[in-house]
Symmetry: C2
Subunit: 201 residues, 2 copies
């Protein structure tokens, strides 16, 4: 147990995060060069100086290296949504929450790396699958909040549709952003996507 003097992450956690980051760095390079499916776990592990077994102790599945930790970002988005005013239309609240998410990514400086990762993601079936699971998770986290803000009847189906449509917008945003070479902004694409769709009130 860590001493009570510091309430921050323990030494072990720092070390663990550092190793995870290193693995991610090495793996993304390999994926970018040879393609996700052409790189084996053992190759990544060797490049990172460890055994394949140890790789799986840091990432349960090979896909997790690219997708990251959906849980953390899901909480971020959920909290952002919860912080929105109650009288705002849900569609706008969702857009604002995704906007905050994107803003966080950009500020963190992961955008360049993010574009590489996203290009790998959208071009690999098993990674798209993992991404879908992220949507499902986020959906389960957002659904009750969205449903609570909807007027009277049919809230279950309405909320489901709205959330899924929002994810579709987010997906299209990231996909087109990854496939384009100019400097089009994620925020810009997100706004355009959300504007093209409107839930009937």
């Amino acid at each position: 147990m860590p001493s009570t003097t510091s309430s921050g992450p323990s030494l072990r956690e720092i070390s663990r995060d550092a190793v995870r980051a290193r693995i991610t760095e090495v793996a993304l390079d390999l994926f970018a060069e040879h393609g996700f499916d052409q790189v084996t776990v053992d190759q990544i592990a060797a490049a990172a100086g460890m055994s394949g077994r140890t790789f799986h102790r840091y990432f349960p599945a090979k896909e997790d290296v690219v997708v990251g930790e959906p849980e953390r970002w899901g909480e971020f988005v959920r909290d952002a949504f919860a912080a929105r005013p109650d009288d705002e239309p849900v569609w706008d609240s969702l857009r604002a929450s995704f906007e905050a998410f994107i803003g966080f990514l950009e500020q963190d400086g992961r955008v360049q790396r993010g574009k590489v990762a996203m290009r790998i993601l959208v071009s690999t079936a098993s990674l798209r699958a993992r991404n879908l699971e992220k949507h499902q998770l986020w959906g389960r986290m957002l659904l009750p909040l969205v449903a609570a803000r909807l007027p009277d009847d049919d809230t279950a189906l309405r909320a489901e549709i709205i959330v899924q449509a929002a994810f579709a917008c987010l997906d299209v945003t990231f996909t087109t952003w990854a496939n384009v070479d100019d400097d089009t902004t994620l925020s810009e694409l997100l706004e355009r996507s959300f504007t093209m769709l409107q839930p009937t009130t």
Copy 2:
């Protein structure tokens, strides 16, 4: 090669389809009882009286038993969309195309079995993944047709959003239908879903 007297499916194809149907039948029973992940390919093969290797000659992947042949249905939907009048709003055309698809399924009497299959599908990650690939495929087939019907600018992004949103509606439709015990109709749910969302014209 078959003699020219009959232009129908060859004997081999009939036999192949029959075997495929038999495997599907046996496998769905096993999946429904034990869950998709708990049933091995060898178990299905044994229950169908063949080796595991032969199973894979009929279905490249275990998931294909549940998902079926996306290509065929994709063509069906694409043709249905192409047959719609040019001046109809794309959103309505998409709804009509999905309606036709659903109608075909219901007429074929696969609805009961379909509900079982759908329950297995929505509760298994790898099957949801395969279903997503189906969406991607259908999307690639529909996208050019949809884009061609859209007014002037930004057709690429607009088409992408509209198609993805339509798939979201279709997905929610099947998912809620599978999870509900009453007699709510697929068409009914589809209509409600599509009505809740409107692309801005």
